[in-house]
């Protein structure tokens, strides 16, 4: 589904990603972790072309990301993305947030878009909030709406960029629950997150990044059992010690 091969990215002399390669097969859930500044957010944003890269290739469903011949808006419409800061559109109601992409990009009728939107809103447990505006919801609720918005486009895979990092602790689980459910339904997912409980529960593989390199790319059991690198061990001991 997603094939990242030998991707390099730099801002001037500063190398952000160095020779990154990995794949995400259909139905797989991949967790990407690593210290801050390791390039994990940058890597996930290259997958739908929000971040350009200088060399290497990324294929999503057989289509080359960032190639001159690729219709990027069309490709992005098929890849769902959830951001750290939710990024709901503050000047639109929750239902408008859930329908605008369907109407303007997928050319669905208003009625159809509304039906899909409300169904997804119900699924993330927020049907009662349909008429409200993003600013009236809690962080956890906003993030669940953001997931519903991404799903409203019937994506072939989902990218999560630290979806729980900006949340108060008591709201983390309501978002993770939605993500776990999604994983169990067979959605292809690539998640940048530090939630190792989530990784243990649903990840097929865990990728560990440091200073722009993919250092570990291992199955969940291998990663939590015996992470080979010293850097990964240190990182895990730091985030799991309390």
């Amino acid at each position: 589904m997603i094939e990242i091969s030998h991707v390099n990215k730099h801002y001037g002399a500063f190398q952000v990603l160095t020779d990154c390669s990995t794949t995400v097969a259909k139905g797989e859930v991949i967790v990407v972790c690593g210290p801050s500044g390791s390039g994990k957010s940058t890597l996930i944003k290259t997958v739908n072309g929000l971040e350009p890269f200088q060399s290497g290739t990324i294929m999503v469903d057989g289509i080359s990301v960032g190639a001159p011949s690729t219709d990027m808006p069309k490709l992005r419409a098929r890849v769902g993305m959830v951001f750290q800061n939710f990024e709901l559109f503050p000047h639109m109601s929750i239902t408008e947030n859930l329908t605008i992409g369907q109407i303007k990009v997928l050319n669905r009728s208003k009625e159809e878009a509304m039906a899909t939107g409300l169904k997804l809103l119900d699924r993330v447990g927020l049907k009662a909030q349909a008429a409200k505006f993003p600013g009236q919801l809690s962080g956890g609720q906003q993030q669940r709406v953001a997931i519903a918005r991404a799903l409203s486009m019937n994506p072939i895979c989902m990218l999560f960029d630290e979806p729980t990092s900006a949340l108060d602790p008591e709201m983390v689980n309501e978002v993770l629950d939605v993500m776990v459910e999604l994983a169990h339904e067979g959605m292809t997912m690539m998640c940048v997150t530090h939630e190792m409980g989530f990784a243990r529960k649903v990840a097929n593989r865990v990728i560990f990044m440091d200073q722009g390199h993919i250092i570990e790319d291992a199955t969940k059991d291998d990663f939590f059992g015996t992470p080979r690198g010293e850097r990964a061990q240190q990182f895990l001991s730091k985030i799991l010690s309390h």
Partner: protein
């Protein structure tokens, strides 16, 4: 009567002054709408990654902002007939001038407005599969415009005052009407005092409204 002033000449001049005020308001509204539309396009050009486009917009904005308005009004009035071969009336010339001139100022406001919308919002629009136009049209510009409403209105108040400059090309705005009426009755001082009060009342009321609006916008954000 005080200081030898005679305000009784105002009453018969009111219909004439009213026509002048209507033109001033019309000119303001047209220059505002045209200026905001053109200014927004200039702001988008200025922020574009296309160097040529961005530089051209910058040159335009800098030029307009470096020339006194009164000269722009005069030059447009003299140049447009030369360029088009057709004489245009003072009123139409003033409208074109004000749209072109105010666009430079509105563009700087809209540029700040566009930059006030976080990059994350642009990313969210892009990620949904929007084209550049859709992201701008549905996500960025509505928020930029909403954030900038108080500043845009303040600029419009300045614009309303500036429209009085069109009297130099003979367009019949409020000031020109006062000048004519003043000459008719040989009472220029009374007329100028009266129109000064009209300008003051309109602008003061509007700026108080903007202040209230600013508080509301601050609460919404």
């Amino acid at each position: 009567m005080f200081f030898g002033l005679d305000f009784s000449v105002l009453a018969p001049s009111l219909p004439f002054l009213w026509t002048g005020l209507q033109y001033s308001v019309k000119l303001t509204l047209i220059a505002m709408s045209g200026g905001i539309v053109l200014g927004t396009l200039l702001a988008l050009a200025r922020l574009s990654s296309n160097r040529l486009l961005s530089n051209a917009a910058q040159v335009y904005v800098d030029t307009m902002r470096s020339i006194p308005l009164v000269m722009v009004i005069l030059w447009f009035f003299l140049l447009i007939p030369l360029l088009t071969g057709n004489p245009v009336g003072a009123e139409s010339s003033a409208m074109l001038t004000f749209i072109a001139f105010e666009a430079a100022y509105y563009s700087e406001i809209m540029r700040a407005g566009i930059q006030s919308v976080s990059r994350g919002q642009v990313a969210a629009g892009d990620a949904l599969g929007f084209t550049y136009r859709q992201t701008m049209g549905y996500i960025v510009l509505p928020q930029a415009f909403r954030n900038m409403i108080p500043v845009l209105l303040t600029q419009t108040i300045v614009l309303f005052q500036d429209t009085s400059l069109v009297y130099i090309i003979g367009a019949k705005d409020l000031l020109k009407a006062a000048e004519i009426a003043g000459k008719n009755y040989n009472r220029p001082i009374e007329m100028y005092i009266f129109v000064a009060i009209i300008y003051f009342v309109i602008c003061f009321t509007l700026s108080q409204t903007v202040k209230r609006l600013q508080k509301r916008v601050a609460i919404i954000r």
